[in-house]
C-alpha cells in the first residue's frame, strides 16, 4: 500500500466529495460515514492511500428483523473501521450491500482478506473477484442450519491445504489441533522440504464458540460477562472495549472510579501476560531454570491481581458504567514492586545468557512493511518499528492524563518483541504508580467524554497486552443487543504469524516465534 497526502483530517473532508451522497456523523472520537455501495471502492482507495489511516476491522450485519435501520430486508450492512491515528479518531465507513457481491477490499487493503472470508461464511456475500475464499471461522461440518449471524453461503469456502507433495520435494506436515503442554487447539499445515519452513497454513476454526451470535438479545451487562470470558487472558482489555462501546451506544458516562480502576487493571493484565510470554520463550528454548524464574514472577503477578481485584485473571474488574470491583491500592503498592522485581531478575539473567539471546536474534523476522500491510498491532507491530498504541493514539480517560509511551524496536525479530514487552512492563509499573496516586488524590479527569444522548450503536477500544482490542455494539429499542462485533488483537496478529515463520526459519523456531507473539486461539476463534 502506498501512502500519499492528504492526511487523516483532510480525508474526512474529501470523502463526501468522492462519495457524492455520503452521510457524515461526527461524534468527536468517532466519525461515521454512510456511502452508497457504488462509491465504496473509491472511498476505500482514498483511505488506503492516506498517510496514517489504517484499516482496523471489517464486519457486517444483516437486516433480519429491522436490526439495521434504513436497510432493505435481506440486505447486509458492511462496516469498515479505520484508525486515523494521527487525528486521534476512528472512522466507520458504512455501506448497504443489496446483492451478493461487494468491491474487493483486500485488493485495496490486503489486511481485509481474513474478514472477507469471515463475512462470506457468516453472511454469504463475497468480494467481487475470482479469488478463492478460505475457511477461517466456521468448522467444515457447519451445514445450512448452523447458527450464523446472517445466511449461509451458496458454496462452502475452500479449506486451505497445500498438496501433500509440493514441487517434488516439499510436503505438508500436520501439527495439531491437539498440541503439547495444554496449549489451545490449533492446527498448522506446515509445508517443508525437510527442515526449513517453506510455508505454513493456520486452521483456527476448531475452537469456534459463536460468541458474537450468543451476544444477540442480551443486555449490556449480561453480554459483558461473556465478553470477559471469551479470551480469558485479555478479560480486562476486551471487557473495557465492549463496556466503552456499550456506554457510548447507551449514552452512559462511566463513573470516575471506574475509569481509574479499569486502567490499573489493564496495566496489571499487561504485566502478567508479558511475564507469561517470557516463561513461554524460556520453555521453547529449553531453559527450564529461566522458565521457573519467569513463572515465579508470573505467579506473583497473578497473586497481586487476586489481592487487588479479587480475581487472578481480573474477571469482574470492568462493568458497564460503574467500577466492577474497586482496587485495593494498599495491597497494590505493597505487593507489586516485589513481583516486578522477580520479572526484572529473570529478564536480566536471561538477556545475559548467550544461548538464549542467540536463539531469539534474527528469528521470525517481520518487516515494518509486512506489519503495516497485514494490519498488525501491539508488541508485534511495535517490534517491527510501527509505532501504534491506542493508549497514545486514541487516549480514552485516564490515558489522556497519564500518557503512555509506546516502546518500539526496529529489528522485527523475536528478541525485539521480547525487548518491547520488557520495556512495556516497566512502563506499566510507572503508569500504575501514576494512576494509583491520581486515584488517591481524586484527580480530575478533564478528558472524560460526557455521556451524551443514546446513539444506538458505539465503538469502544482498549490496548490489550497483545495490541488494540476493538468492540462495536448496536442496541435495539428494547435495550438488547442486535449486533455485537468483537475484534481482539489476536484476530489481527495471527495473520502475521505465518509470514514470520516463513522468513528463513526451521521447525524448532516455530514454537519460539509463537511464544514471542503470545497470542490466544480463543481471541481469534471466537
Amino acid at each position: 500500500m502506498t501512502t500519499t497526502e492528504p492526511g487523516p483530517a483532510a480525508v474526512l473532508k474529501e470523502i463526501p466529495r468522492v462519495a457524492g451522497h455520503a452521510q457524515v456523523r461526527d461524534d468527536g472520537r468517532l466519525v461515521t460515514v454512510r456511502v452508497p455501495a457504488a462509491q465504496l471502492e473509491a472511498v476505500a482507495h482514498l483511505l488506503a492511500a492516506t498517510a496514517d489511516a489504517r484499516l482496523a476491522d471489517v464486519f457486517a450485519a444483516e437486516d433480519g428483523a429491522g436490526a439495521e435501520a434504513g436497510t432493505a430486508p435481506g440486505s447486509v450492512m458492511l462496516r469498515l473501521v479505520w484508525g486515523l491515528d494521527a487525528n486521534q479518531r476512528y472512522l466507520v465507513v458504512e455501506s448497504v450491500i443489496e446483492n451478493e457481491r461487494y468491491p474487493s477490499l483486500s485488493d485495496i487493503a490486503p489486511a481485509a482478506f481474513a474478514e472477507e472470508c469471515e463475512i462470506y461464511e457468516q453472511f454469504g456475500i463475497r468480494p467481487d473477484t475470482h479469488k478463492p475464499l478460505n475457511r477461517v471461522m466456521l468448522p467444515p461440518q457447519a451445514g445450512p442450519d448452523f447458527p450464523r449471524l446472517g445466511h449461509p453461503p451458496a458454496q462452502p469456502p475452500a479449506d486451505v491445504h497445500a498438496p501433500h507433495v509440493v514441487g517434488g520435494h516439499a510436503f505438508e506436515f500436520p501439527v495439531g489441533p491437539v498440541r503439547q503442554l495444554g496449549a489451545e487447539s490449533l492446527y498448522y499445515g506446515l509445508v517443508t522440504s525437510g527442515e526449513e519452513v517453506v510455508d505454513l497454513y493456520l486452521f483456527t476454526w476448531h475452537k469456534h464458540r459463536g460468541v458474537e451470535w450468543r451476544l444477540r438479545g442480551r443486555d449490556a451487562r449480561d453480554a459483558l460477562f461473556l465478553v470477559e470470558r471469551m479470551e480469558g487472558l485479555s478479560a480486562v482489555a476486551n471487557g473495557w472495549a465492549f463496556a466503552s462501546a456499550a456506554e457510548s451506544a447507551l449514552g452512559i458516562q462511566p463513573a470516575r472510579p471506574a475509569v481509574w480502576a479499569r486502567a490499573i487493571a489493564l496495566e496489571l493484565e499487561r504485566l502478567y501476560n508479558h511475564a507469561a510470554a517470557l516463561a513461554a520463550l524460556c520453555q521453547t528454548t529449553g531453559l527450564s531454570v529461566g522458565q521457573s524464574a519467569a513463572e515465579i514472577a508470573l505467579e506473583r503477578f497473578l497473586r497481586v491481581n487476586a489481592a487487588v481485584f479479587g480475581h487472578r485473571y481480573l474477571f469482574g474488574a470492568v462493568d458497564v458504567g460503574s467500577p466492577g470491583r474497586m482496587p485495593d491500592l494498599g495491597r497494590l503498592r505493597g505487593d507489586l514492586p516485589g513481583a516486578y522485581g522477580e520479572l526484572c531478575r529473570a529478564a536480566d539473567a536471561l538477556l545475559r545468557t548467550n544461548s538464549f539471546v542467540d536463539r531469539l536474534e534474527a528469528t521470525g523476522i517481520l518487516s515494518a512493511e509486512q506489519a503495516r500491510r497485514l494490519g498488525l498491532v501491539g508488541p508485534v507491530a511495535r517490534a517491527s518499528g510501527v509505532t501504534i498504541d491506542s493508549r497514545a493514539d486514541h487516549p480514552a480517560a485516564p490515558y489522556g492524563k497519564s500518557r503512555a509511551t509506546a516502546v518500539t524496536r526496529a529489528e522485527g525479530d523475536v528478541l525485539a518483541r521480547l525487548q518491547v514487552m520488557l520495556g512495556e512492563a516497566a512502563e506499566s509499573v510507572r503508569l500504575i504508580g501514576e494512576l494509583a496516586r491520581a486515584a488517591d488524590a481524586g484527580g480530575s479527569l478533564a478528558d472524560l467524554v460526557p455521556g451524551g444522548n443514546p446513539r444506538g450503536a458505539g465503538l469502544g477500544w482498549a490496548e490489550s497486552s497483545r495490541g488494540e482490542s476493538l468492540a462495536w455494539v448496536a442496541f435495539g429499542d428494547d435495550g438488547l443487543i442486535t449486533r455485537a462485533r468483537l475484534r481482539p488483537a489476536a484476530v489481527r496478529n495471527w495473520r502475521g504469524f505465518d509470514d514470520a515463520c516463513r522468513s528463513q526459519n526451521v521447525f524448532t523456531d516455530i514454537p519460539i516465534i509463537e511464544a514471542s507473539f503470545w497470542l490466544t486461539v480463543a481471541g481469534t476463534a471466537r
Binding site: 460477562f225 497473586r303 487476586a306 489481592a307 479479587g310 487472578r312 474477571f315 469482574g316
Partner: protein, 113 residues
C-alpha cells in the same frame, strides 16, 4: 533433607500435611457458593438457576441441586441472592467419586393450594 528422611523412617509417614500451612492468597480468590438452607425459597432457587452461566444449579422438584464440579466461581449467585448465598472460601476440591461433588439442598415445601 536427611532429617526429613530419618523422620519418615522413624514415624513410618512419608507425606506431609496438605497444605503445609495456610496460603494467605487463598482469601483473595473467588470460590464456589455456600447456601443458607433456611433462606432458600422456591423463588430464590429459581433466580439462582436462572443466573448460573455454567448450569451448575438446577431444580429437581423441591430440591435445589448444586454441582460443584460445574461451578466456575463467578459469583453471580452471590450477587443475585446475597441473603441466601455466600462465598464458601474453599477453592480446592478433592473427592473420590464424581457424584460426591453434587449437593442436594431441600427447599421448603410449597403449601398445597
Amino acid at each position: 533433607m536427611p532429617a526429613w528422611f530419618l523422620r519418615g523412617l522413624r514415624r513410618g509417614v512419608v507425606t506431609t500435611r496438605y497444605p503445609d500451612r495456610p496460603d494467605p492468597s487463598a482469601a483473595d480468590l473467588p470460590t464456589p457458593p455456600r447456601f443458607r438452607a433456611g433462606q432458600l425459597t422456591a423463588g430464590v432457587a429459581g433466580r439462582l438457576v436462572e443466573v448460573c452461566p455454567s448450569r451448575a444449579l438446577w431444580r429437581e422438584d423441591d430440591v435445589l441441586v448444586f454441582d460443584a464440579g460445574a461451578c466456575t466461581g463467578c459469583g453471580r449467585c452471590e450477587r443475585a441472592a446475597p441473603e441466601a448465598v455466600t462465598a464458601s472460601g474453599e477453592f480446592e476440591l478433592a473427592v473420590t467419586a464424581r457424584d460426591h461433588l453434587i449437593k442436594r439442598i431441600p427447599l421448603p415445601r410449597q403449601p398445597r393450594p
